[in-house]
Amino acid sequence: MSTLDATMLQQRRPIAAPLAIGALVLLPVATAMLCLSAGRYQVPAGHVFGILLHDVLRLLGLDPTAVVTATWTPTERIVVTTVRLPRVLMAGFAGAGLALSGAVLQGMFRNPLVGPQTIGAASGASLGGVVAILLFGFGLPVHLGAFGGAALALAAVLIVHRGDGVSPVLTLVLAGVVVGAFCSALVGFVTFIADPEVRLPGIVFWLLGSFAAASWPNLALLTACTLVGGGVMLAMRWRVNVLSLGDEEARSLGVAPGRDRVILLAATCLAISAQVAVSGTIGWVGLVIPNLVRMVVGADHRRLLPVSAVAGAAFLMAADTLARDLSAAEIPVGIVTAIVGTPVFAWLLRRHARGQAA
C-alpha cells in the first residue's frame, strides 16, 4: 500500500507547467543553434548567438551595439543568416508539421503504424506537385497541387479501407501502401512524359527532396501552412482524444465525429503538402517521432501533440544538418530519416504484433 501511495504521489504531482513549457521551447532552439553552428564552415556557437541577437534587436528597431559586440567575421554572418538560417528553420517547421500530422493521424485512425507516408498522403502530395510542375511550372501551383494530391490520396485510402474502426490495424497501412504505390506509378508516368529539355530536370530535382533549395519565400509559405495546420491540430488536441476511441464511442460521448475528422484531415494535408512542396518527400519523421514521444509522455494528445511538434522539429533539423555535413557531397535528408526510421518502424511492427503497442 505504501509503495502504491508513493508512486501515486509521484505521478500525481503535475509537472510544473512553466518548467515543461520552458523545456519544450528550449529543445528546438538549442538544436537550431547547434545546427547553425555546425557544418563545413564551422561557426562558433557564441558567434551564432551573437549574430542572431544582433539581427533580432535590429529587426525590433533597437540598437544592437549596446548589447552585443560584433566579434564575428562578415563571412560567418552570411553563412549563418543567409545560407543556414532559412534552411534550419525550414527543416524545423517541416519536422514539426510532419510529427504533428503523424500524431494526429495515428490518434484518429487508432493505429500507431500510420504516418504521412504510410497512409499515402505524402505520395499523393508528390503526385500533385509533379503534375503541377508539368502543367504550370514552379511556384504556388506546386503548393496547391501538393495539397490537392494529399487530400485525394487520403480520401482514396479511406474509401479503400472503409474506415469504421473495426478493421484490423494493418489493413489501413495496406490501403496506404496501395494508394502510395498507385501515386508513385503515376509520378513515374509524369516524369516519363515530361519534356526532357524544359520540365524534367526541375521535376527530378524537386522529387529528390532536400532543404538545399531553402529560400525565404519557400520558408514563408511553409511557416504559414505549418502554423495554420499545426495550430488547428493543437487546438483540437482533446477532440483527437475523443476520436481515438472510435466513431461510435465519440457519438455516445455527445461528439459528432464527421466534421471534426474532416477539419483535422485538412489540417494534416496542409502541413504535409507544404512540407512536400518545399522539400520533397521526407519519410518516417511523422511515423516514428510520435511513437517515441508517446512512450515518454503517454497517449494523451494534450501532451503528445505539442511534444511531438518540438521533437519533430529538433529531429529534422538535426537530420538535415547530418545530411549536409556527413560527406563532401550532400546526402538527401530523406535517406538520413529513413536510415533512422525504418529500424524503429520494424521494431514497432514487432511490438504491435506481440500486442504490446500502447
Binding site: M8, L245, R251, S252, L253, G298, A357
Partner: protein, 256 residues
C-alpha cells in the same frame, strides 16, 4: 423519459432482428433487457443512445444519455482520470480542453464509483472489473439523466457483479436516474430492475417481479428455469435457477 414505438431493425435485408417493439420507461425507473445472444439487445441499446439509426419505428429519449459500453475495442493507453474526463467532452466545444471544474467533476465521479485511488493508473492495465467501473464513472461525468449499460456485470466476478448492481440501484433510488441495462442474468434484473423487456419472439414488457416468471423465462431461454425464494440475513431474496439437464445424456444415468 424513454419512448420506443414500433421499433425494428435488421442488418441483412428483411431478416428482422426485432420488430414492432414498443415500450416506455418512466423517469427514475430501472429497466432490464433480457434475451438470448443475437436477439438485438445491444442494437436496441445503441439505438437508444442515438449511435445507430433503426430501420423502423421511433425512439425518443429525454435528457442527456450516458453510455457504459461492454468493453472498449483496442488498447486505450489513457490514464483513468483522462478516460473519465472524456465524459465531459460534450461540454467542451471543438477547440476546448477540460479545465479545473471538469477535473473536479471527473474526480467526484471516480469517488462515486469507489475507484478514486485508480485515477493515475493506465486504463489498459486495469482488470475487467476496474475498467467497467471507469466506464461507469465516465458515463456519470457527462451529467446524464439516462444511463444505458450493455451487460454491465457479465464479464465480472461475483463480488464485482455485486458492486455494479449496488451502484445501479443507488443511482436509481438515490439520484432518480433512469437506467436501461441489458443482461443475461435474470437474477440481476430481479435485484435492481423495476421493469423488464424480454426480447425473444413476441417481446414481453412488464414489471420485473411478475414478468420474470418461470413460463416467460423458459420461453426466453429454451431452458427450464425455477423461481426460488432465499432467506439471507432475515431478508427474502427472489432468485432464478436454470435447470440444465446435463446428466440425462449420460448412458444409464437416472433422469433428474
Amino acid at each position: 423519459m424513454i419512448r420506443v414505438e414500433q421499433a425494428g431493425h435488421w442488418f441483412r435485408p428483411e431478416q428482422w432482428l426485432f420488430r414492432d417493439l414498443s415500450f416506455a420507461v418512466a423517469e427514475g425507473e430501472a429497466t432490464a433487457i433480457l434475451g438470448p445472444n443475437g436477439c438485438g439487445k445491444t442494437t436496441l441499446l445503441r439505438a437508444l443512445s442515438s449511435t445507430l439509426a433503426l430501420k423502423q419505428g421511433r425512439i425518443s429519449v429525454d435528457g442527456i444519455v450516458g453510455v457504459v459500453p461492454q468493453a472498449l475495442r483496442g488498447d486505450v493507453g489513457y490514464r483513468v482520470i483522462d478516460m473519465v474526463l472524456l465524459g465531459r467532452s460534450r461540454y467542451l466545444g471543438r477547440f476546448g480542453a477540460p479545465g479545473r471544474r471538469d477535473l473536479a467533476r471527473a474526480e467526484a465521479c471516480l469517488e462515486a464509483v469507489g475507484i478514486a485511488d485508480l485515477a493515475e493508473r493506465r486504463y489498459d492495465r486495469l482488470s475487467g472489473g476496474q475498467r467497467q467501473l471507469v466506464l461507469f464513472a465516465r458515463a456519470l461525468a457527462c451529467d446524464c439523466r439516462v444511463l444505458l449499460l450493455d451487460e454491465p456485470a457479465s464479464a465480472l466476478d461475483l463480488a464485482n457483479q455485486g458492486v455494479v448492481l449496488r451502484l445501479i440501484r443507488r443511482l436509481v433510488r438515490d439520484d432518480g436516474m433512469t437506467v436501461v441495462f441489458t443482461t443475461h442474468h435474470p437474477d440481476h434484473a430481479l435485484a435492481v430492475a423495476d421493469k423488464v423487456l424480454m426480447m425473444a419472439g413476441e417481446p414481453v414488457f412488464g414489471p420485473a417481479a411478475t414478468t420474470l416468471d418461470e413460463a416467460n423465462l423458459a420461453r426466453l431461454y429454451g431452458v427450464p428455469v425455477r423461481r426460488v425464494t432465499i432467506e439471507a440475513d432475515g431478508e427474502r431474496i427472489e432468485a432464478t435457477v436454470p435447470v440444465h439437464r446435463l446428466v440425462a445424456d449420460a448412458p444409464g444415468a437416472t433422469p433428474l
